[in-house]
């Protein structure tokens, strides 16, 4: 026994010794490495499979699209495609490609890559495929640098959607496609390779990808344009979800930037460190209280108006650290957003008057409202508490439920289990009002957590289909405005509290970027275009 203990003690001493000696040789950080944390890193670097904000942050650096959003208004402008034509019936779009674009391995980007990328995305069926699956009929290669998209229906926002379509390197993927896989003759369609590797033409390449842990990017040595010398040579994005760890990493200078939504308390703690500042970048999303329009008593429009008037917008904005108030159903920076209507404001007396007009005026207490929010979703618990308090003050009976994410999604699969009111942030999928209007209110998009409203409204369905089928941009914009007026004035399906604003925190001594210069890009992920960063 004595011997055993001696052996254990020796091992322990050796460990301590090695620990002390080894620590001395810690490597120094490279000044051209941008080290950033995110509350979530992408699940994949495959542009056919990802669609979240964290995915897009990587995609914009690694892949490129036919068009790129304008830096001021987000409207699509030429990029890989230098020009395009659309047929009179809106079903044929022909794009002429630049001839000097190469992928990171030196292969030229041609029309065949565009065709392959779209077909691959639709067949895989994940990520943004839902946008294109019902629109794109086929893609034809006209010549090496000319490609035609034949649509099933005229689709006005087609150009705007193209930012969600990233072009991948056909030759590289075909060389790395496993013959056995879920996609028949296409094997695994390169999904295994793209789980941890990239195949794009953007200014950065993925050099290391650890699923749900970290992503490392490096400048693309073969980039077809010039990458500014002051742009970081490497970018390391690490997933950190624990606020106390984030605070210490920033305080210790171990990271240069914190991405993701932080609570107000965390944000204030981070800003106490020297050189640490934060900026604002509006997202294409709003915080919504989604009201179930098919369950009593919220099936009565007067009750929904009462809820809208009982909402203390200013207090809620303050809880989130001063967000811009929402103007209506569509985030204000999204193309097609309108504010040409009277929106709701906090007025308990008007709320009481609206209740009095409803068919539930005398029986309101018999219909307690279920108010659900997602567990662990920042400060949204506080929003729910504020609304519950104000609703009770005007006569409602309210039951607040904190619901785990999995259950939140499941409850909203059918009307019966959808709560009376839910709170969540909803974000547009592509860069037009039509995107958010369709997936939040159209009858064919019910059953997902973004639409607790269960609108199922024929008039709305007709209006949105007409708008989406309109090719002329001005006419389409007018139709979007009519829809927003209809929703706000007549249907009142949701309470629009505030615009979702990203508040990144960074060390101003280490680098500068567009958000720091007060010029945020209208598309939030393009703020993270690392080629535009200037390391100091």
């Amino acid at each position: 026994m004595k011997k055993d203990l001696q052996v254990l003690a020796s091992i322990f001493l050796v460990l301590v010794l090695v620990l002390v000696v080894g620590g001395v040789s810690a490597a120094e950080s490279n000044p051209t490495v941008l080290r950033t944390t995110a509350t979530a890193t992408p699940e994949t670097v495959d542009p056919a499979r990802g669609s979240g904000e964290n995915d897009n942050m990587i995609f914009v650096n690694v892949y490129e699209s036919l068009v790129t959003p304008n830096q001021d208004n987000g409207f699509p402008e030429p990029f890989i495609a230098t020009e395009w034509t659309v047929s009179d019936d809106g079903r044929s779009w022909v794009f002429k490609l630049r001839e000097d674009v190469v992928f990171s391995d030196g292969n030229p980007l041609t029309a065949a890559d565009v065709k392959y990328s779209m077909e691959r995305m639709i067949e895989i069926g994940e990520g943004y495929a839902f946008i294109f699956k019902d629109i794109v009929n086929k893609v034809k290669v006209i010549d090496n640098y000319k490609v035609e998209f034949v649509l099933k229906i005229p689709f006005g926002p087609f150009l705007s959607t193209l930012d969600c379509f990233k072009i991948v390197n056909k030759k590289l993927l075909e060389a790395n496609t496993l013959s056995e896989g879920r996609f028949g003759a296409n094997g695994d369609y390169g999904t295994g390779y793209l789980l941890t590797n990239s195949a794009g033409s953007g200014p950065y390449v993925v050099t290391e990808f650890k699923i749900r842990q970290s992503v490392q990017l490096e400048k693309n040595a073969n980039y077809w344009r010039e990458i500014p010398a002051q742009a970081p040579d490497q970018v390391l994005i690490t997933q950190v979800r624990e606020p106390s760890t984030t605070k210490m990493l920033i305080a210790n200078g171990d990271v240069d930037m914190v991405h993701g939504h932080q609570t107000k308390e965390t944000l204030q703690a981070l800003l106490k460190n020297e050189g640490i500042i934060h900026g604002n970048a509006s997202e294409f999303g709003l915080n919504y209280f989604m009201i179930n329009t098919k369950k009593p008593p919220t099936d009565d429009v007067h009750i929904r108006k009462a809820i809208s008037y009982a909402t203390n917008y200013e207090l809620m904005n303050e809880i989130f650290g001063g967000m811009p108030k929402a103007q209506g159903p569509v985030p204000p920076t999204l193309w097609g957003a309108s504010s040409n209507f009277d929106n709701y404001y906090y007025n308990p007396e008007k709320a009481k008057a609206a209740i009095a007009q409803s068919k539930y005026a005398d029986t309101l207490k018999d219909y307690p409202l279920d108010l659900a929010y997602i567990q662990g979703n920042g400060d949204t618990d506080k929003l729910a508490m504020v609304l519950a308090h104000d609703l009770q003050a005007v006569g409602f009976s309210v039951k607040i439920n904190e619901v785990p994410w999995v259950l939140f999604c499941n409850n909203q699969k059918v009307i019966e289990t959808s709560p009376h009111i839910t709170n969540a942030f909803c974000t547009a999928n592509y860069l037009e009002a039509g995107s958010i209007l369709e997936f939040k209110y159209a009858s064919w998009t019910t059953g997902n957590w973004n639409q607790n409203e269960w609108l199922l409204d024929d008039k709305f369905d007709t209006m949105i289909l007409e708008a989406l089928g309109t090719i002329d941009a001005d006419a389409r914009k007018q139709k979007y405005e009519d829809i927003q007026k209809y929703l706000v004035n007549e249907v009142v399906p949701s309470v629009y509290t505030f615009v979702s604003v990203l508040k990144p925190v960074w060390n101003s001594d280490v680098f500068s970027w567009r958000i720091g210069q007060g010029k945020p890009h209208p598309i939030v992920e393009y703020n993270y275009y690392y080629a535009d960063f200037a390391m100091k």
């Binding site: 620990l19 699940e43 749900r212 760890t245 999995v406 999604c409």
Partner: protein, 338 residues
């Protein structure tokens, strides 16, 4: 010796049966939890056709028994635990990546628990009712009642942020060519890179310490009681009168019998380390199996959940079997029934 082999064989059969029952029960329970895992994984906007296709490929649309049989066949024939909807790759690849890291963390924690727990318990028992004993007991109480995450945050703040002796979580980079076992420290040692090994230990020290303090405290209390019981035993009194040196008395005659309860509890503590590590792994950004387990549960990843249950079951069973063998070696009077 033959008896030990038979015991191991019998235990292994027990473990196998328990694991089979356990995995089937977990399969059944997962089906009862609300929410379609495929829909959760692919997102709300993916078409129903794509969701159905994947459900079919993963056997989620078949009866429970058929799905279970398919899963079992995959394990037996290919060592395939199914596809993770959380990481989009085979669960076996996840296990291979994450489990060794947590085992290594548990190993260092286990060493700390044994060495520190026994040391503190022995000191406390020898100096019973002195200020030293009181101090150790106070520290032990503190250790038992303080949750590991509180230690984690405190140590990170003190040793990482204020004193800067240790890094604030994460792990140093290791050349993929160096990877053999998946245990970063062991791989560095096998490659002969002692500087890297030192660095790795430096990264692992605070998480391992935070993870082990609860158990050290508990172990110290158990060992103290056990030692005190033996101090008063007749044979110790006799040995003392017979002039056996004090250090020999403690190390040889008191330590060995005192070790039996200590060792039994130690087994339970070590077996539970993997499960207890999840918050520590999150706080210290340690990409291990416990953090992975938490994530697959939160995301309702069916094959991931069954696999982690399986692994936890195996680890617990093996550790307990080893402890039983160890105890019988410490005291041959404790017979092992086959």
């Amino acid at each position: 010796m033959r008896l030990a082999y038979l015991l191991v064989l019998k235990r292994l059969i027990h473990i196998l049966v328990v694991l089979l029952v356990l995995s089937f029960v977990i399969f059944a329970f997962i089906r009862l939890i609300p929410g379609d895992p495929v829909r959760i994984s692919l997102g709300p906007m993916v078409s129903e056709e794509t969701v159905q296709k994947m459900r079919s490929e993963l056997y989620f649309d078949r009866p429970l028994v058929i799905q279970y049989a398919h899963w079992l066949k995959g394990i037996v024939t290919k060592g395939d635990f199914g596809l993770s909807l959380y990481t989009h790759r085979p669960v076996s690849a996840d296990i291979a990546e994450y489990l060794p890291k947590s085992l290594e963390l548990a190993l260092y924690s286990g060493i700390m628990i044994l060495v520190m727990g026994v040391l503190l318990g022995t000191i406390s028992a020898i100096f019973k009712n002195t200020w030293l004993d009181n101090l150790v007991r106070f520290i032990s109480y503190l250790g038992v009642v303080t949750p590991p995450y509180a230690f984690g945050v405190f140590f990170m703040l003190l040793f990482g942020y204020i004193l800067k002796w240790f890094p604030i979580g994460g792990m140093p980079k290791i050349d993929p060519a160096m990877t053999r076992t998946g245990m970063l420290g062991l791989d560095a040692l096998l490659a002969g890179d002692f500087a890297l090994y030192g660095q790795i230990l430096k990264y692992m020290f605070l998480p391992a310490l935070s993870l082990s303090l609860n158990s050290i405290a508990y172990q110290a209390r158990i060992h103290r009681s056990s030692m005190i019981e033996n101090i008063n035993a007749d044979y110790i009194q006799f040995a003392e009168v017979a002039g056996v040196k004090r250090i020999r008395l403690i190390m040889k005659h008191m330590m060995k019998p005192s070790f039996i309860p200590t060792f039994t509890i130690y087994g339970l503590q070590v077996g539970a380390l993997l499960g207890n590590a999840f918050i520590i792994e999150v706080i210290f950004r340690y990409a291990g199996f416990s953090q992975y387990s938490l994530n697959v549960i939160m995301n309702k990843d069916p094959y991931g959940i069954v696999a982690i249950t399986f692994i936890f079951g195996i680890v617990f069973a093996i550790v307990n079997m080893l402890i039983d063998l160890g105890v019988s070696k410490l005291d041959p009077r404790i017979s092992l029934e086959v």
